[in-house]
């Protein structure tokens, strides 16, 4: 069905060729500079976007991709430099100015109002008529969907939508506003491989329609697959741009990180494995009555790294939180912890405090670092207290130990901080994670759980984290590593538990499986018979 619509668009005479000579730039950025807290996030950037092309904006996390595009879409105002659209100099003071110039951005964190319907979100801010005429909006939305090949239910409330539905709605919203230049900020981060494929189809359709598309990403295979040209940012500076057909992933990686890095992650052979955690028939239902985990069973062993793969929202968060005592589970669920001396205890139905009192040495690096693992407004030493503030008698806290620990962590992991009194909120993402991981492993854990531990970190810090995980494994700790990058999971983990929609799709050997196999299991329970 979608195919048919694609061909209708193909007839259009729009620029199809990658080699069209003397193409006109739709947008030129000249010397754009933006500071955050007196640190340059974008430093004197010159860049062009041509008509009818798909441009990948590539760079590591924190290289300034989103900030640069936010200046184009009117969210931020540049501290220096200027912008030309279709050759004319423009000043973009607000998102409205950007829309008037036919520039639309689909943000990583969706800009949708939860309690409104799809159609209401689409017309938001347009004031087409005094009376709200939703019927004509719905018709127009359906027409757009037809043209580019996607589906949106105009009457559905956003809070009832899945992530990919929300993203589709965002694209419809931007197209409805007549955008000719579309910016997509890491659109595939939350999508399944199938959904990604469909999105790319839509992007190609839009390109054939003459639109310019910028896709912000750090996934190389996507860059190679979808884009005509790649522009690379590194640490806020523009490294250069190159036609996709004339480059290779290796070259792009070099541009991105500045030098070649070995992509090999160490993986020592496990030794002296022993059972540490046994989960049986674990089911979790959330407050809205949605089943988040359904009859999950697995074992985690001390001395090995158990990876957890799955599309985001498949129950990874709930799994870790149940073990940590932050979530309740359905009756019949079993979570048994075995300590190094072989004593067992059940963790189900226990509060974090009760688990702690059982003597379970549990370390947990949650996904939301500043919202759960750390307290943003407190300094490093105060954050060290989180696990230990109850220690010692009396009503007052003892600051001696946490201060010492804070200094050790800053020293050992080379945490960059102005001084020891700076609130952790003001540190960069990588340094925040170093503080968090440093604290968690300082407790000599027997079970270490981490969720998306390298998300948003630069390559060097990521490798530091992998090294720390391996060190813990060597010490006999059971490590549970929830990840999103399949390449990393396949290289780092001994076994990989694959979740799909809250159910165990299978457990595979990290050394034997392939990316394709895990990818298939992530989207389809029972696709592969493992074990």
């Amino acid at each position: 069905m979608e195919k048919a619509k694609v061909t209708t668009v193909q007839n259009e005479p729009a620029a199809e060729g990658r080699e069209a000579p003397e193409r006109k730039p739709a947008v030129e950025l000249i010397g754009l500079t933006k500071y955050f807290r007196s640190i340059p996030v974008n430093d004197n950037i010159d860049m062009s976007i041509y008509k009818g092309e798909i441009l990948s904006l590539l760079g590591e996390n924190g290289s300034g991709k989103t900030t640069l595009m936010n200046m184009l879409s009117g969210i931020y105002f540049p501290d220096a430099g200027h912008i030309r659209v279709n050759g004319k100099p423009v000043v973009i003071n607000s998102p409205k100015d950007a829309l008037d110039l036919h520039i639309g951005m689909i943000h990583q964190h969706f800009k949708l109002v939860d309690v409104l319907t799809a159609a209401e979100n689409v017309v938001l801010g347009l004031n087409e008529s005094f009376r709200l005429n939703l019927r004509s909006v719905k018709r127009e939305v359906e027409a757009i969907c037809q043209r580019y090949g996607f589906e949106v239910d105009p009457d559905k409330k956003v809070y009832d939508m899945s992530v990919s539905e929300k993203q589709t709605l965002e694209i419809v919203k931007v197209l409805y506003r007549g955008a000719d230049i579309l910016i997509l900020d890491e659109p595939t981060a939350v999508l399944t491989p199938q959904e990604t494929k469909r999105l790319f189809e839509v992007m190609r359709n839009m390109k054939r329609d003459g639109k310019s598309i910028v896709i912000i990403t750090h996934k190389l295979h996507e860059v190679m697959e979808i884009s005509d040209r790649v522009a690379v940012l590194r640490k806020g500076k523009y490294v250069g741009d190159i036609e996709t057909a004339k480059t290779s992933p290796q070259e792009l990686t070099d541009m991105m990180v500045g030098r070649s890095v070995s992509l090999n992650i160490e993986r020592p052979e496990p030794h002296d494995v022993r059972e540490c955690l046994r989960v049986e028939h674990l089911s979790v239902t959330d407050a809205d009555g949605v089943r988040k985990l359904d009859d999950v069973s697995f074992k985690a062993y001390g001395g090995e790294i158990l990876g957890v793969a799955g599309i985001s929202g498949s129950g990874q968060k709930e799994l870790l939180e149940v073990v940590a005592g932050l979530q309740g589970a359905e009756p019949g669920s079993v979570v048994i912890y075995t300590d190094r001396d072989g004593r067992t205890s059940s963790l189900i139905g226990k509060t974090p405090m009760e688990i702690k009192k059982l003597g379970v040495h549990l370390a947990f690096v949650p996904e939301d670092r500043l919202g759960m693992g750390l307290v943003g407004d407190l300094d490093i030493a105060d954050n060290m207290l989180i696990r230990t503030y109850t220690e010692g008698g009396g009503i007052f806290v003892n600051m001696k130990k946490p201060r010492k620990l804070a200094e050790e962590i800053v020293e050992e992991f080379e945490v960059v901080t102005p001084d020891m009194l700076t609130p952790v909120r003001k540190l960069s993402g990588g340094n925040v994670q170093k503080v968090l991981v440093g604290r968690e492993i300082s407790g000599e854990p027997s079970l270490l759980m981490s969720a998306y531990a390298v998300r948003g970190l630069d390559i060097n810090t990521s490798y530091t984290i992998y090294r720390l995980m391996n060190e813990q494994k060597e010490k006999g700790t059971a490590v549970i590593y929830v990840g999103e990058d399949l390449d990393v999971l396949l290289e780092l983990c001994d076994r990989i538990l694959v979740l799909c929609g809250g159910r165990v799709s299978g457990i595979v050997e990290g050394r034997k499986t392939t990316k394709e196999e895990v990818g298939l299991m992530m989207t389809h329970v029972g696709a592969v018979r493992a074990e």
């Binding site: 955050f36 879409s73 969210i75 931020y76 105002f77 607000s94 998102p95 409205k96 829309l99 008037d100 951005m105 943000h107 800009k111 949708l112 109002v113 939860d114 309690v115 409104l116 209401e120 017309v123 938001l124 801010g125 347009l126 004031n127 087409e128 008529s129 005094f130 009376r131 709200l132 409330k157 809070y159 919203k173 506003r177 407050a287």
Partner: protein, 352 residues
């Protein structure tokens, strides 16, 4: 039987006139809160509106030899609007532009507004002749000119009432209708009209949709090209104007063009804030909610044999009911009944 009916009618009229004061307050506050601003300055704004109208009317009546009620009415209305919008401007400048804490700014506005009103209220009384009460009876009469739309009909029907039982019943019904529905000053009806307009505006117009989006998620509204600051200012100041009318109605109609430094307006202002919660941010619900609050507040008058102390306990009812509503809303978790998501938070586009 007749006394019961008379009591019922009396309770209804009391409830309606009392309820109208807080209805104005709550309608204005609903509009303000829809933009994401919790304005605890409602009592202050109602004070400013009330004293504004009173001062306007007073000056007009003092300077004119033979004041015309209609002119006094217009002057009072205008001066109320000017004063209450001024209150709204102070609040929105501080909370929207300068991003000051909304709770604290609102409370300060209440202190400021009540001080201003009671200062001028006291001074006007002195100007009016020392110990004597200030009174703008002429202007007040224009506010209290009741309609009695069915009057002639009632007389007509009652003339023939003796003849049949049906006519007598009809006459009774008409009479009751006349007393409970058509016996108030125009501002009682104006409040209902404003509620209906507000409800239509919020749910059926493009700009209403935009305003709801601003209160729910200003970053999204901003990205959609909505001028968040302008919407917040307009909603807060229009809201203040509506709330201010509550003060005017209280002064001109409810206490008949006088002034008393008794803190009543402040109490009513807080009741208006309570009504917003009771109405779960829906203008139409605040209409019957206001009348219900009025009935609850004055219920003690209609239950005989109460000691003075027990009467005071009855006056707790609206607050207790609001607390019950507050609790039940938090229990039910229905998204549509929740306060606007960004209520109480200031918005800065470049926050990250």
């Amino acid at each position: 039987m007749d006394t019961v009916l008379a009591q019922m009618i009396s309770l209804i009229t009391t409830a309606v006139s009392f309820g109208t004061v807080i209805m104005y307050g709550s309608l204005g506050e609903i509009l303000t809160e829809k933009s994401g601003h919790l304005n605890l300055g409602v009592p202050g704004i109602m004070y400013m509106g009330g004293i504004g109208g009173l001062t306007g009317a007073f000056l007009y009546q003092t300077w004119t030899a033979e004041p015309v009620p209609g002119v006094g009415l217009v002057i009072a209305l205008l001066s109320t609007l000017v004063c209450s919008v001024l209150g709204g401007l102070i609040y929105s400048f501080l909370t929207v532009t300068l991003r000051a804490n909304q709770n604290v700014t609102g409370l300060t506005l209440t202190i400021f507004g009540s001080g201003l009103a009671n200062f001028f209220g006291g001074s006007l009384s002195k100007l009016a002749g020392g110990v004597g009460q200030i009174s703008v009876a002429v202007t007040s009469s224009a506010f209290r000119a009741t309609q009695h739309a069915t009057d002639s009909l009632v007389t007509l029907v009652s003339r023939g009432a003796g003849e049949s039982g049906f006519m007598r019943v009809l006459s009774g019904i008409l009479d009751t209708l006349d007393k409970t529905v058509f016996s108030y000053g125009f501002m009682v009806y104006l409040a209902v009209v404003i509620a209906i307009i507000l409800s239509r505006f919020l749910n059926k117009t493009s700009r209403g949709l935009n305003l709801r989006a601003v209160g729910e998620n200003p970053a999204t509204a901003d990205a959609a090209g909505i001028n968040v600051t302008r919407y917040k200012y307009l909603a807060t100041c229009t809201g203040a104007a509506i709330s201010g009318l509550g003060g005017l109605y209280y002064v001109m109609d409810y206490i008949k063009g006088t002034w008393a430094n008794d803190g009543n307006i402040e109490a009513l202002g807080w009741l208006a804030v309570a009504l917003v919660i009771f109405a779960t941010w829906k203008p139409l619900r605040s209409v019957w909610g206001a009348y219900l609050f009025g009935a609850l507040y004055w219920l003690y008058n209609f239950i005989p044999g109460q000691s003075r102390s027990m009467q005071e306990i009855f006056k707790m009812l609206p607050y207790v009911v609001t607390i019950i509503v507050l609790i039940s809303v938090s229990l039910r978790r229905k998204r549509e009944n929740h306060p606007p998501s960004s209520l109480g938070l200031s918005y800065f586009r470049e926050d990250r």
